[in-house]
């Protein structure tokens, strides 16, 4: 076994800040930490740099307020596309902002003025992420071995020598090769970090394999890999891809659910993860997969016990105040993922999250939420709403969910009045109302872990621009969604006509539609909860 260690020296940092003074200061500070620094004044430029050299950076530090793109959005892109740890910075330390950062996947949120000591330890995030990636990949489709790998790699990394720095790419992870090969994976797997480019064809093979296998719990990476019959592909490639796929599908499900909530009611009756969901679906294989995927999301979420966030303003996390008793047996119904299959097909090929993303929310909105075109931020909001809805339904586990997709639709209507509702418009006053906070705080713990496990490689090829835009949005949303909830699957009781029952019970149990600020905040929560 190689005795490779981990060293913060030479950590490749990308700093993004539109303030030239801070950029200069941070560059100096980071250099003093013996890091390799690249500075950038624009978010888009940063994304370009990152995409150009996909393995060129170890960590990104970005200011929240960028002129050309919302810092949170950048954060998402980076986290999902490139799976890099991102640290947010701001002069604003308002709880809601910090929370938003964490929810969007930031591994830290630094307040300006930033001190050297804060920068000196950022390498921890990189290390942590790498460890979690190994763990997550191992855990997702391999038979056992997760535990000992965790112990092993932790000891390995933490006890290792200083002979390897970040400059030597991935040498630290050679041991993973051994572990993975031990699983009798015949493919010449390089270190885990060798990124596979999932081309259209490859992905199609993947999807076909998945559909062939059928429902979720049978669709393990090994089976999929076998069916795909791609010699150079490794099981871990498939495993991580599978995670993302499930994310995407669950995200679609949520969108569909919103759209045809009335139709979704019938789904509520079925027991978790069974073929009942498949009925009426165009592609049973896919739908069950989707359904299970979505269910698994729920299950994972419910495993998490709500813990209070650091901010003291949150109320008792274990009080299920929001969800009325009769919703205890709720579960999420999945609409036939007809559009999800088709949407997914058209998803191929995946593209980078496009710069056009923000200018072309229309397709997505229309297809999933039947809303008039809203600004990109709104589309983002709309996207996350389904997640929130789903989360709302998971009451049995004391998740402070309270709504239903019916309510979401009602919610979405008011969007017309306030098309500028965005995730950025967090209303701190809504905090006290939102039980979701506690939940999201827990979820974000998982979020970090899971997000980092997504080794997403998006091919550069571009096809239908607008469609890709939306699908990328979908994908990202989906990824984020799954990232928060993981993939484990459990039994889940159901309650019929949940939706109709829940209609009078708005998000937070009070008989009013939350105002747009609250809504966006909730949506924001939901994005990472459900």
């Amino acid at each position: 076994m190689e005795k490779s260690g981990f060293s913060p020296v030479g950590l490749r940092v990308l700093v993004v800040d539109d303030d030239p003074t801070w950029l200069k200061i941070l560059e100096k500070m980071l250099k003093k930490c013996s890091y390799e620094v690249t500075t950038c004044g624009l978010a888009r430029e940063a994304l370009r740099l990152l995409r150009e050299r996909k393995d060129g950076y170890d960590i990104v530090i970005s200011d929240v307020n960028m002129p050309d793109m919302d810092g949170f959005k950048l954060l998402e892109h980076v986290g999902l596309e490139l799976d890099l740890p991102v640290i947010m910075m701001s002069v604003d330390g308002e709880t809601s902002r910090v929370m938003k950062g964490v929810q969007h996947g930031a591994c830290d949120y630094l307040l300006k003025p930033i001190r050297m000591k804060e920068l000196k330890i950022i390498w921890q995030h990189v290390l942590r992420k790498k460890l979690q990636e190994v763990r997550d990949i191992e855990g997702c489709g391999y038979e056992g071995g997760g535990d000992w790998i965790t112990r092993y790699d932790e000891a390995h990394f933490l006890g290792g020598g200083e002979d390897v720095s970040f400059g030597k790419k991935r040498k630290d992870f050679d041991f993973e090769k051994k572990l993975l090969q031990d699983e009798s994976d015949p493919s010449p797997s390089s270190s885990k970090k060798a990124r596979v480019v999932w081309s259209v064809e490859l992905h199609q093979k993947f999807v076909n394999a998945v559909n062939q296998i059928g429902c979720d719990h049978k669709a393990g990476p090994k089976k999929i890999l076998d069916l795909m019959n791609v010699p150079w592909l490794t099981r871990e490639n498939v495993a991580s891809h599978l995670q993302k796929y499930r994310l995407y599908l669950s995200r679609l499900e949520k969108g569909k659910e919103l759209k045809c909530y009335s139709g979704g009611v019938k789904n509520m009756d079925s027991s978790p993860k069974d073929a009942e969901v498949n009925s009426g679906y165009q592609s049973p294989g896919k739908s069950s997969y989707v359904f299970s995927g979505g269910n698994s999301l729920i299950q994972k979420v419910t495993e998490i016990d709500p813990k209070p966030l650091a901010s003291a303003s949150l109320s008792d996390p274990n009080t299920d105040v929001i969800m009325p008793p009769k919703t205890k047996k709720t579960r999420i119904g999945f609409d036939p993922p007809i559009s999800s299959s088709s949407a997914f097909d058209s998803l191929l090929p995946w593209n980078d999250v496009p710069e056009t993303l923000e200018s072309k929310p229309v397709l997505y909105e229309n297809s999933f939420l039947q809303q008039p075109p809203l600004p990109s931020q709104s589309s983002y909001v709309a996207n996350s709403v389904p997640s929130l809805m789903e989360e709302e339904m998971k009451s049995p586990y004391e998740t402070p969910a309270g709504g239903s997709s019916v309510n979401v639709d009602e919610f979405l209507m008011p969007q017309d009045k306030n098309p500028s509702v965005t995730l950025q418009d967090l209303d701190p006053s809504a905090i006290s109302n939102l039980k979701l906070q506690e939940f999201s705080s827990n979820v974000t713990n998982n979020t970090e872990a899971i997000l980092r496990s997504l080794n997403w490689e998006i091919p550069e090829s571009h096809h239908s621009a607008s469609l890709d835009t939306d699908l990328d949005l979908i994908w990202l949303q989906g990824e984020r969604f799954l990232a928060n909830t993981g993939l484990q699957f459990q039994d889940y009781s159901s309650s019929p006509s949940l939706l109709s029952e829940l209609s009078p019970h708005l998000w937070y149990g009070n008989e009013r539609l939350p105002d747009p600020d609250e809504y966006s905040f909730m949506v924001d929560q939901g994005l990472f909860i459900s």
């Binding site: 539109d18 303030d19 030239p20 003074t21 801070w22 200069k24 200061i25 100096k28 500070m29 003093k32 200011d63 307020n65 701001s90 002069v91 604003d92 300006k112 003025p113 001190r115 050297m116």
Partner: protein, 145 residues
């Protein structure tokens, strides 16, 4: 002469013009960047002049888009923390409070004050740097009491 320089710097701290951030900057200064603090300072004043201009224009328009003003001020505040311009930063905070309260008059007043503080700080720092250059190689930064 170096003592003079030190005294001037001390007074800047004592009078609240600068806070610890300035000291942090001084600690970053080294042989590789012997004029680091002065460079950063120059950069700050250049950039903040631009921001002040933007805000001036926005205020002159008279339309009082508080959201935009708040956003400008947020930028300004962030910028001002970079060199530890604490008085300027305080005015930024006040301004933003007025923005949130929708108090146009308060905003205008505060902005005038902010510009004063900004200008004052600029003068003082220019003096300080000039003197420091004349005094010769800078002594290592010591944290004033």
């Amino acid at each position: 002469m170096q003592r003079q320089v030190a005294l001037i710097k001390q007074s800047l701290f004592d009078q609240g013009y600068l806070d610890e951030q300035f000291m942090e900057l001084e600690e970053l200064q080294d042989d590789a960047n012997p004029n680091f603090v002065e460079e950063v300072s120059a950069l700050y004043f250049k950039d903040s002049a631009r921001l002040i201009n933007n805000i001036d224009q926005a205020l002159e328009r008279g339309s009082f888009d508080f959201n935009r003003l708040d956003s400008y001020m947020h930028q300004f505040k962030g910028s001002s923390t970079s060199i530890g311009a604490s008085k300027v930063k305080a005015e930024c905070t006040t301004f933003r409070e007025y923005c949130r309260a929708g108090n146009a008059e308060g905003c205008l007043r505060t902005f005038q004050q902010l510009k004063k503080e900004h200008s004052m700080l600029r003068k003082k720092l220019e003096q300080y740097f000039q003197l420091a250059r004349q005094a010769g190689p800078k002594e290592t930064a010591r944290r004033p009491k």
